[in-house]
């Protein structure tokens, strides 16, 4: 099959590739770029394990073609740590509040939660649940994921003590 050139920015780095038009973005990220943080749990946009941030929106990269991301700026879990390499508030929150078990949903959850906190700096528990409803987790029962996001929101809103 004929290949098409694509260019995009991933985690702040300019990348390019020659891809089949039918290549899914998730496969471009995982196979071509070696970014195996985003996972495939369904390929049908139900589970959210493949969630990445594209031009300021959460997208499920299993249902976007790589060519559709031409020129886009993408962030994956690999680009989530702070610039100095320390863990971001969300990553810290997931660890402190036991927001993960097998870890398979975690990269997608953190990416979605990251965007949620951009959209709503201080969500209520119900808003967090609604905001994450496109991401499935089979292990945690979500309660500690909600707490993890709460932890990050508290920290980002300067309520650090509350998060301790």
């Amino acid at each position: 099959m004929n290949k098409t050139a694509v260019k995009m920015t991933v985690n702040g780095q300019a990348v390019e590739g020659q891809v089949e038009p039918r290549l899914l973005l998730i496969h471009f990220l995982r196979e071509n770029l070696g970014l195996t943080g985003p996972h495939v749990g369904c390929e049908t946009s139900h589970c959210g394990a493949c969630t990445v941030d594209l031009d300021g929106t959460s997208i499920k990269s299993c249902t976007v073609f790589a060519v559709q991301a031409e020129g886009a700026s993408i962030t994956t879990i690999e680009g989530m740590a702070n610039a100095d390499g320390t863990l971001s508030a969300l990553q810290e929150g997931f660890m402190q509040e036991h927001g993960l078990q097998c870890g398979f949903c975690t990269p997608g959850m953190i990416m979605r939660a990251h965007r949620l906190l951009q959209e709503n700096r201080d969500p209520s528990d119900d808003e967090i649940r609604m905001g994450l409803s496109g991401n499935l987790c089979r292990c945690t029962g979500y309660q500690n994921i909600v707490k993890a996001v709460r932890y990050a929101a508290d920290k980002l809103n300067g309520r650090q003590e509350a998060a301790e």
């Binding site: 195996t36 749990g41 139900h46 690999e78 097998c102 409803s133 089979r138 029962g141």
Partner: protein, 801 residues
Amino acid sequence: MSDASEMTLEQREATIGGIGCARRRKEDVRFIQGKGNYVDDVKLPGQVFGDFVRSPHAHARIKSIDTEKALAVPGVLAVLTANDLKPLNLHWMPTLAGDSQAVLADEKVHFQNQEVAFVIGEDRYAVSDGVQAVEIDYEDLPVLVDPKQALAKDAPVLREDAAAKDDVGQGPRKHPNHIFNWDVGDKGATDKAFAGAAVTVKEDVLYQRVHPCPLEPCGCVASMDKITGELTVYGTFQAPHVVRTIVSLIAGLPEHKIRVIAPDIGGGFGNKVGAYPGYVCSVVGTIVLGRPVKWVENRIDNISTTAFARDYHMTGELAADEDGRITGLRVYVLADHGAFNAHAQPTKWPAGLFSIVTGSYDIPAAHVSVDGVYTNKAPGGVAYRCSFRVTEASYLIERMIDVLAQKVGLDKAEIRARNFIKPEQFPYTSCLGWDYDSGDYPRALAKVLDAVDYKGLREEQAEKRERGELMGIGIATFTEIVGAGPSRNCDILGIGMFDSCEIRVHPTGSAIARLGTKSQGQGHETTYAQIIATELGLPSDDIAVEEGDTDTAPYGLGTYGSRSTPVAGAAAAHAARKIRAKAQKIAAHMLEVAEGDLEWEIDRFKVKGLPEKVATMKQIAFAAYQSLPEGMEPGLEAVNYYDPPNFTYPFGAYLCVVDVDRLTGEVKVRRFYALDDCGTRINPMIIEGQVHGGLTEAFAIAMGQELIFDETGNIQGASLMDYFVPTAVETPVWETGHTVTPSPHHPIGAKGVGESPNVGGVSAFSNAVVDAFAHLDVTHMPMPHTPWRVWKQCEALGIGE
């Protein structure tokens, strides 16, 4: 030697980070940064992909397979069919239950989506094109979907290959579609209890067909090194050592030339115990092509072909006196095993540990009979987040005791209290032969009733009923049997179900431990280190835990049935104790006293009566490599293979409150309180997480999960579009509590907890829904309790509009 540090006992305890502390998980660091290493992340040089051509029919004869067009697809390298595997004798494989299963359909297909051909190509896309291009001609055969029809005289014979055999692994058969009968208990005594009973109740209770559906599907990468003849298989294996033995037996390769690696696993819940055709085809593929072959199933393959759970058609009967004291239990089960008997149970237990069905109750007589049958559905029958068939058993008794309560007009908490095995009866032998190790059921139930103000809830319910509103209170007081198990009654393919741990302490006082189990999210790297930390007096932060590589880890039977803590956790404690015993000798030498003059304190040996004379474990570790007593072997390491003397019996009391909308059938879980007693608690944070997760899976099963088939065997909805996996929005908020009743036979008193919430949870939800209708004389409603079904019940009662 003197104590250099000025730390208090508490500070030293905290530094160790041992049993009982809520230490954060060691594994999280990689997962939260996208650096986990799951099987689909494995990328070997020259790696190619494989995928299946699957049957659209549930029962059909294969007239022809034409692979020519597929082989012409650019990038396709090979297409395997049963005929290609035949010369290697790999077209069928043995199952864990003593039957055989077609690796690639041999002349016939037996269920929809069965594997018929395996296409290997350069990338996923080329393979997908190849799969489309394989042409197969089928001739439809009559389909058997309903297990109740399986043993009919004129039922179609499904397994022609096995029709003439009088045993397919688990005992005598009475029909070509019959797999086994399993009969346990005292029939005579049970019949007598029923004959003389003041009250009897009977109910048909179906535990529907469900699927564990871990977020990561199953997969593997097989790689044959043609030069050395060594085969490496990475895969989603809950039991990597067993896989190595099976590969050796099936493929005829010497076991030392096989290395099985289970990397990070994205949830298992029983789905990743079995051996699947994808594994065999990948192994054949790498042998044929000399390149690593990766196979990863998609979600539809996962739900429709790899190991389902339950499909137990049960009939329960209880006999009781007029006060609701149970005198007899009778159970009949028709078990739908699908097309091949490939359920994963200890080999001698065709219905697993189902005979735990007497539950938490002191029942004098019981009889259980189970028939397994073939149908045109995918094989399986695994323990979906439970110990072997324990969820089925627990669901039955917890439903039946509610049915009895309604019949005799007793409160559902009271009838349980009346029938409990009393604390002073432990150790207790049930009439079906299990030796319960420890328990205090009345205390657990009382604590829950108190926590939720049970009396108040019942009053509220009565008021609501007056107003025509539906509110239900569901109770489950369950007992599990986990930690399989003692090799005298448990084996898999003849291998006793022990487990193992090997610990090496390095000269500077850090250590590595390797175990025969395999975490799929349970946090073993964290909790095993805590057990060893407490036993050895070294900080858990300095103890690395490794599992899943058969070249380095000692042989073990893997992680399922809540067996990791009861079995491998015990092995860890024993291995550590061996090391401490040697350490004591070294300490005596260092301090120039007799061994008996020493006592252990957190992280050191002290000379009795001379508290300033101490040798810390760290100091001893160094000495073990340098200044040893005369004649002692250097080094500080030990291995333990632990064959448990008994199972462990975790228990709990759960209570669920629901409000039912009679106009829409919608069930709202208002409150759920789960009290678990798993004996000694290793890490309370992880226990709570396990409970949350298990309750959520129980919620999914009770409220929505079901694999449905039409009469021609088409699976209805095998994607996440249809198969219910709750999101954060539907999932209730969980409240948890605990009591601690240690196991007397386990070295640290721990019992295991990962599966309790699923076992107890399903019953609590279902009991709550039925309880909402109890005043309308409803005694049972089949799961899952979807709005449609619940509304149908309302409609039948004339309250639906």
